[in-house]
Symmetry: C2
Subunit: 336 residues, 2 copies
């Protein structure tokens, strides 16, 4: 059977099974305590001084980006930002990263410099440091970044990080920022849609220069939230990940989802589809007890919106303002 | 100017300069102490409980390997081993790794399973654990692995790791194992050279399944050695890296270089060229005071050979048994 005959999820399951089967045969290191291995936004361990996490992300030319839509500097920004966003989703601070680049021989050095300029810009804004890497020849551009995050130990609470598997029934579901803008921007980039200048600019920027919510992730973790994910594959897919990992369900209210007015204006018919299923928002999606979430909403400067509730049902339900379910067919008509 | 118009070294210099320029503007994290950043086999930091290092390595299809010579399982072994070898060259123990794979859609799942089987085999042998990764579609196979190493703190000696920059004049230069066998194996794989079965088997294995010297690296560091590198690009190139980083020179005696009798038999004319310049041996090349090196040679079970001496001259000299210099033209006729 070939890879394209099984879904991505099944493929990951097969590989996780292979790795887990051999895990118990490995010797553990007495200096560290492993807290999360495979299956979250990153892996977490601690020693007696700090908590660490590691995450990795690959971008392949013509699969994750193409040179027609993306300039080198924005590409560098995005490559770093998607890793910072994974670190944010664990409640950690970006510490170090290693950057591996595969690049065609006839690439201009100026382009490579711009790529690094974009990476450094993202690091200055949201933390981290490039401490190593590997630059190799490749017929297509490939960028792989692995990033380490760090978090102080907290003596009161050993589970001092955000994970996908801690959502509980009756938790409120909340999200930072606006959803769907990145997908709207991607649609404009593909079709050179004719919409007003400032709208185009906002939506394109949402796609090309996502803003990972690093400080918010740390803040959420400090406040005692312990269930979160970053929205990389779309709200529905990512809340489903939280539900599966936590063995719960969710009810999302479409009229509560934060959607920017520019997205509604540019895509009066598709904005909800983009918000539910678009992906690459790199906002934080998190859950927690009602009083805690409300308390955070009052205290924080970050835009946070409550969009639903965790349920016992083990199903993810999307309902409109009259409490009618919206089926998968209705929200899935936007195919990336 | 295009990338192929500058050498790899110049390219790395350009990128390092870009990164270093911005380094001082970054906020440092109070939980850790950075010991080595860019420019060694890995980057090193410590907190109050342990020393860590991180290393990364990419393998691109038709650049670093091809499917004609390499089966999936051996490819998995090698992808992990080259990282373990970098960790060994710092004197650390492999702790965790993240594995990112780009793979064509029509790849057989069975092949991907074999790739992981090879990786797990290498981990069982020489340490580490796969704790995460990313599997994405790509028109060509790409494998990127980032690996974290750990080492206990040593109160007596803060510089508790091996680096390229600590060689001193009069240090002896030593190497583990045999050199050139991997290059010999690669030559046989390319040309299906007609040599005796057991010779072919040994040389091919040296190329396809390198044995990183993890335990030796830890042992050297425990004994107080602090200058080392792993031989990935060939003896001459890698001793030159030590010399440049340490601001010293070296004199290597060709008649002392450990070369396996099978390599000499299969390549009676080229074996020295392979040993000097072949690469991918993944042996450890290290330097230290004469008495310390001799003491280690007596105590260790690892095959260690003294092949020369560090000099003040800042030049790397290769001399034969009658003390005549061998010029670059003489040893460089083997081009990979």
């Amino acid at each position: 059977m070939k890879i394209n005959e099984v879904g991505e999820k099944d493929l990951i399951k097969i590989l996780d099974k292979l790795i887990s089967k051999n895990k118990k045969k490995l010797k553990s290191n007495s200096l560290v305590n492993q807290l999360i291995s495979i299956g979250d936004d990153g892996s977490v361990w601690s020693d007696n001084s700090a908590n660490y996490c590691i995450t990795t992300d690959s971008m392949i030319e013509n699969v994750h980006f193409n040179q027609q839509f993306t300039n080198w500097q924005d590409l560098g920004w995005k490559a770093i930002s998607v890793n910072q966003s994974d670190i944010a989703a664990m409640g950690f601070d970006p510490l170090y990263c290693v950057v591996s680049i595969g690049i065609p021989k006839n690439t201009e050095i100026q382009s490579l410099k711009k790529l690094y300029k974009g990476m450094i810009e993202a690091i200055k804004k949201n933390g981290g440091e490039i401490v190593g890497g590997d630059t190799v020849h490749s017929p297509i551009i490939t960028i792989n970044i692995s990033m380490i995050g760090i978090r102080k130990l907290n003596n009161d609470n050993k589970r001092n990080f955000l994970s996908r598997s801690k959502a509980k029934p009756k938790d409120l579901i909340a999200v930072t920022g606006y959803l769907g803008s990145s997908a709207g921007g991607f649609e404009i980039l593909k079709n050179t849609q004719n919409v007003e200048g400032k709208i185009t600019k906002y939506l394109k920027k949402a796609h090309l220069k996502p803003q990972p919510k690093v400080q918010t992730g740390i803040e959420l973790c400090d406040h005692g939230i312990n269930s979160a994910i970053d929205i990389s594959d779309g709200l529905v897919q990512d809340i489903t990940r939280i539900c599966k990992a936590s063995n719960v369900g969710a009810k999302i209210l479409t009229n509560k989802i934060p959607v920017h007015k520019y997205l509604k204006k540019a895509f009066p018919e598709n904005w909800l589809s983009f918000a539910l299923n678009g992906g690459e928002d790199y906002e934080l999606l998190f859950t927690g007890p009602s009083n805690l979430i409300k308390q955070i909403c009052e205290k924080t400067k970050t835009k946070i919106t409550i969009i639903g509730e965790i349920t016992k049902s083990k199903k993810v339900e999307i309902v409109n303002k009259t409490n009618q379910k919206i089926t998968k067919n209705e929200w899935e008509h936007f195919i990336k």
